[in-house]
């Protein structure tokens, strides 16, 4: 049976109360709907994590899809004594790291990303909240771009730890597992990332 994923926002109550490990178990037992539940649970979180790491929306979607493909292929090998979310974030983290590495090797990719971002900037504001006043919209948008640019200036290994903690709310232990670092490294990277981020953005806020 094909793994048809309906991607509807409505998930049956039976699934919504289930732990990830139980959903994984259901999928491995042959229930294809369980995979839809996993996609539903993680697609937005992973998209935000990857997007904040690599800074390219379109590529981030591709990478998140790749994460789910890998999960689908290798779920039978997943050690169910561990947390599913940690495993999924580890895959996403590695893909994001590879993407950044490839981008640094290939200037054309970097150029295309910059160009796409320019096009994004040229996009009219009509998709944003129409109830807001234009100056508010401008201010909010400017602030968002400022924050994103400040995050992008962090070194890659600091940025990942920073996003996993601040955006995803992961514990130090989980971050250590996802990024394959020890706990001390995670703490020091997080401390440095926070300080650097604050130092980068502070002059613009005064």
């Amino acid at each position: 049976m094909a793994a048809e994923v309906a991607f509807k926002r409505i998930v049956a109550p039976k699934w919504s109360t289930m732990e990830d490990s139980a959903v994984v178990g259901a999928f491995l037992a042959g229930d294809e709907r369980a995979f839809q539940v996993l996609v539903e649970r993680y697609q937005t979180r992973l998209l935000n994590f990857v997007y904040r790491t690599i800074g390219d929306r379109e590529k981030a979607e591709d990478l998140v899809q790749e994460v789910f493909i890998r999960v689908y292929r290798h779920l039978h090998r997943f050690d169910r004594s561990k947390k599913f979310s940690t495993w999924v974030y580890t895959i996403a983290s590695n893909l994001a790291k590879n993407e950044l590495r490839n981008r640094s090797r290939n200037p054309l990719v970097l150029f295309q990303t910059i160009r796409r971002n320019w096009e994004d900037e040229d996009r009219p504001l009509q998709f944003e909240d129409p109830a807001s006043r234009p100056d508010d919209l401008y201010r909010k948008r400017h602030l968002r771009e400022l924050v994103e640019a400040s995050v992008a200036r962090l070194p890659e290994h600091h940025r990942q730890v920073f996003i996993l903690r601040e955006l995803e709310g992961k514990s130090y232990e989980e971050i250590a597992e996802i990024t394959a670092c020890n706990l001390g490294t995670v703490k020091s990277r997080l401390n440095r990332a926070r300080t650097s981020f604050a130092e980068i953005i502070a002059p613009a806020l005064r």
């Binding site: 094909a2 793994a3 994923v5 991607f7 697609q43 937005t44 899809q65 401390n191 604050a198 806020l205």
Partner: protein
């Protein structure tokens, strides 16, 4: 507590990951040190901005594209599973004929090599020039019959072996004698 320790523990302070004693010490230091209080406020304000970034949602195409990719993955997985079930008759026949062909080639080549192994290696004959005793050369009278040092057996042998340096060195060593003999010849011819 000093400022260095405050900065080192700051990440844990923000995350409320310190024990009660350390937490209290951090709060006290922040209240007493203006620089550290400023540092703390700057970081907390920056983090607040970051945490309030709008969440982005997957595009409308995301689900459709993921479905298509999942179907393709499933097809490839089905292919690979089919490959592990065992070979079909056709693939078995191809594999068997391949093995037979490889065996034939191996046997044919092995026979050729074995027959070559029985043949004796025939080296080219060594051609040498009988050396003229040096006593004969030295005792020969000065005149046209005397053998020139240029044609000494050592030089002839080395030249024929294709060693360009050795004859040159020999010639250089024997040059004074050669010139003397030539001079004697000229003198004897004048007489």
């Amino acid at each position: 507590m000093d400022c260095g320790r405050f900065r080192d523990n700051h990440a844990a302070f923000i995350d409320n990951a310190l024990d009660e004693v350390e937490l209290s010490a951090m709060r006290t230091h922040r209240a007493e040190c203006a620089d550290c209080a400023d540092h703390d406020a700057t970081i907390r304000r920056a983090l607040l901005l970051f945490r309030n970034l709008p969440t982005i949602e997957p595009s409308a195409e995301f689900g459709r594209r993921l479905n298509a990719r999942l179907r393709a993955t499933e097809r490839s997985l089905a292919w690979s599973h089919a490959g592990t079930r065992g070979p079909s008759w056709t693939s078995f026949a191809w594999a068997a004929s391949g093995v037979l062909a490889a065996g034939y080639i191996l046997v044919a080549n092995f026979g050729h090599v074995a027959s070559m192994r029985h043949q004796e290696l025939a080296l080219a004959p060594v051609v040498v020039t009988a050396p003229v005793p040096s006593a004969t050369i030295d005792s020969a009278p000065v005149g046209p019959m005397r053998i020139s040092p240029m044609a000494s057996p050592a030089i002839v042998a080395s030249v024929s072996m294709g060693m360009p340096v050795w004859p040159a060195a020999l010639l250089a060593a024997q040059a004074p004698m050669h010139f003397a003999v030539t001079e004697f010849q000229v003198v004897s011819l004048r007489r």
